[in-house]
């Protein structure tokens, strides 16, 4: 009995993973259904399937708003922050994990401490600093505070700690400098954590609403999240168009994840290091 079952079903793990995936996909499915419904159909309860597929919300989302311009702004800001975070967090994370230098504990704690402050608290002083730098209402205002995240430093430090120390000892004997060890030996092994930092930085910057809301004001610097808010108002929300534009704006992130998975999940075993 058990054997025949195993023969028919490719793997029993599908029985676990499929329901799990469905539970996780509920909102995406709902967003898709809503975006294909008419406005009247979304004003019903309980919500149901649309009578026929209405693609016009996508056209409306794309035509009625400078969605492409918002996407471009968000991409510039997010990609810049990702690149900068990968470089700066790797450097700092490595130093904190591997070099016992004067003041490292104190500095590291200081950096951790800034993780503990909710953004709502520091929003106004951050605004004052950005104003002093003359960056209000510009894309750099969205970039500079996010060039490095304490979260990235902390995460990479933990991964450097879990790498075997022997890896660099050999290189140190060769007389290779710290930076060379980091870039030529260690970072190639850090594919999964680095891609994690990349994705999470990207998401954090991409999804940010409050900071762009207060620091920008002109349409030229509007990001996707601010733009999406224009489909939502206090008394009236056009759900089909809102969901169509939300999906369009999340598509790049999902595609990035789907194609970036190779890097995410490349295990140390396949890199040929023993």
């Amino acid at each position: 009995m058990a054997r025949s079952l195993r023969l028919r079903a490719p793997s029993p793990w599908h029985l676990v993973l499929l329901p799990l995936a469905l539970v996780m996909l509920v909102p995406l499915i709902w967003m898709l259904v809503t975006s294909l419904s008419t406005l009247a159909e979304t004003h019903r309860f309980p919500p149901g399937l649309p009578s026929s597929l209405h693609w016009e919300s996508y056209a409306q989302a794309w035509n009625d708003s400078p969605l492409a311009h918002w996407l471009l702004n968000s991409t510039i800001v997010s990609v810049t922050c990702v690149v900068s975070n990968l470089v700066l967090c790797s450097l700092a994370g490595y130093a904190f994990a591997r070099i016992p230098f004067a003041g490292s504990r104190l500095l590291f704690l200081g950096i951790l401490a800034t993780l503990m402050v909710p953004f709502q608290v520091v929003m106004i002083p951050t605004l004052l600093i950005v104003k002093q730098l003359g960056l209000v209402d510009s894309l750099p205002a969205l970039i500079v505070p996010n060039l490095v995240t304490p979260f990235g430093i902390y995460l990479l430090r933990q991964f450097f700690l879990s790498l075997p120390a022997e890896l660099e000892e050999a290189a140190t004997i060769d007389g290779a400098g710290r930076v060379r060890i980091l870039f030529s030996i260690l970072l190639p092994l850090m594919g999964p954590p680095l891609s994690t930092v990349a994705v999470l930085t990207f998401l954090q910057v991409w999804n940010d609403f409050l900071w762009p809301l207060v620091v920008t004001s002109s349409p030229e610097t509007m990001t996707v999240q601010l733009g999406l808010a224009s489909f939502q108002s206090a008394h009236f929300t056009n759900w089909p168009v809102l969901m169509a534009s939300t999906l369009l704006s999340q598509l790049p992130v999902l595609l990035l994840f789907l194609f970036g998975q190779r890097y995410f999940v490349r295990s140390i075993a396949t890199t040929g290091i023993k």
Binding site: A40, T42, H43, R44, F45, P46, P47, I76, T80, V83, S84, V87, L88, L91, M123, I124, L127, L128, V130, K131, L135, V136, D137, S138, L139, P140, I143, V144, L147, R178, V179, L213, V214, V215, S217, S218, P219, E220, T221, L226, A229, S230, F231, Q232, S233, A234, H235, F236, T237, N238
Partner: protein, 426 residues
């Protein structure tokens, strides 16, 4: 050290890249004349109508241009404006909720409009009294009305017919209302007579206030220094809510997600207390009617929540343009144009005297009741900086009664104490 220089160079490169990209955006170039910035939260039809009006203004005033900027939603307008003062990029004119007026009253850059509106040409008394009072804080006029609405009773005719209940009338009493709601409720079919937004926010409070006022009560005393709602009227209003929500179970308690409207469309809820903004979301297949709120001893007064345009000082020239633009935008013929395009209610009484008003009524027949009901607005909410705290306390009170967690008198006492300490603390 090579490393540091490398990292620094990289950082500088990134910053330069960002700066270059920002440069592409460009700033509004003014060629000799004045340009003022107006922050608004209009979307959809309203945004189109507003854009058209600004275009018209700019064509007529080449030296006093208006730049329209979307504020990313009126819910965030106050926060964004306050942040704008810190960052130095605040607007010349901003659309704000009426409840924000008192918070912005302390802002040194705010332009006092008292002298402007008192000029005979402005005709301040043409605005409904509730709009005038919402714009006034401590005797100063701080804004010009931008939008006015009120609560009326909207009902689904089919559900009344099915339950054999006569349709609501403008002379309904609280008892008529309660009995009808009870008859329209059917636990088996999960239909409710009425819906109440029970999230404890101002949405919860402003449906309670007309009941309080109709019964002869007041929220605060006349100089806004002490609570006055812990009264017979306050209790009577809460008793009605308790009787309907807890005893009859004839009220759907919406937890703030706005389900009530979808349920109304789906024939699950028979009556709503709502305003003109919801009409555009009622589906075409729902046959609905509108009438005044049920009354107490013949008093059918309702509540209005006017929103405002407020002006902020940059320079003398820009302030003058800002005031001029606001005056123009809210003048009777210009606003009636906007009302016809959007279905917003007239801001000025004289708009209904203009010949185009018939176009408005033809296009939005259901709005007639809301326009007439503006005359039933007799009270306004106190325009004090601590109103949001007063509102929280009253919201909790109503919510605790609706959820059956507190008796009306007990809830009144608690809220009254809280409000007293809020008012004493300021």
């Amino acid at each position: 050290m090579a490393l540091t220089t490398k990292a620094a160079a990289g950082l500088a490169g990134l910053l330069a890249l960002g700066a270059a990209l920002a440069g592409c955006g460009g700033s509004s170039g003014s060629d000799g004349g004045t340009t003022i910035t107006v922050w608004h939260g209009y979307t959809d039809v309203e945004a189109k109508a507003m854009t058209a009006q600004v275009k018209q203004w700019n064509a007529d005033h080449p030296d006093e241009k208006v730049k329209l900027v979307y504020n990313s939603g009126n819910d965030n307008a106050l926060q964004k404006t306050v942040a704008g003062f810190t960052a130095g990029n605040y607007p010349d004119v901003a659309y704000e909720f009426g409840s924000s007026a008192a918070a912005l009253a302390r802002q040194p850059k705010l332009i006092d409009l008292t002298d402007t509106v008192k000029k005979p040409a402005f005709n301040w008394d043409d605005f409904y009294p509730s709009e005038q009072q919402a714009a006034e804080v401590n005797g100063k006029v701080l804004g010009v009305p931008a939008l006015v609405d009120n609560l009326s009773l909207v009902y689904n005719k089919a559900l009344f017919k099915a339950a054999g209940v006569p349709l609501p009338t403008a002379s309904w009493s609280w008892d008529d209302f309660r009995n009808a709601a009870k008859k329209l409720t059917d636990p088996a079919k999960k239909t409710y007579g009425w819906a109440y937004v029970n999230d404890g926010s101002e949405d919860t409070v402003w449906r309670y206030l007309p009941l309080l006022w109709q019964a002869g009560g007041e929220l605060l005393n006349s100089d806004n220094t002490k609570p006055e709602f812990d009264s017979a009227a306050g209790k009577e209003a809460l008793d009605l809510l308790k009787g309907m929500a807890v005893t009859d179970k004839s009220v759907y308690l919406d937890n703030g997600n706005g389900n009530y409207l979808n349920l109304f469309n789906s024939g699950k809820i028979a009556m709503l207390w709502t305003g003109p903004w919801d009409l555009s979301s009622i589906n075409a297949d729902v046959d609905y009617g509108i009438t005044l709120l049920p009354g107490h001893d013949g008093n059918h007064e309702t509540i209005s929540g006017p929103d405002l345009y407020m002006a902020f000082d940059h320079s003398k020239g820009r302030s003058e343009t800002a005031v001029k633009f606001m005056t123009w935008l809210t003048s009777a013929p210009v606003h009636l144009q906007f009302a016809i395009a959007t279905g917003d209610l007239p801001l000025r009484k004289s708009e209904s005297q203009l010949p185009e008003y018939s176009t408005f009524l033809e296009k939005y027949p259901a709005n007639k009741v809301f326009v007439d009901n503006l005359n039933n607005v007799k009270h306004v909410r106190p325009n004090i900086a601590s109103y949001s705290e007063v509102s929280t306390a009253v919201g909790q009170m109503v919510q605790s009664v609706l959820l059956g967690q507190a008796e009306p008198q007990e809830a009144l006492d608690t809220a009254s104490d809280q409000v007293a300490s809020v008012l004493a603390g300021q």
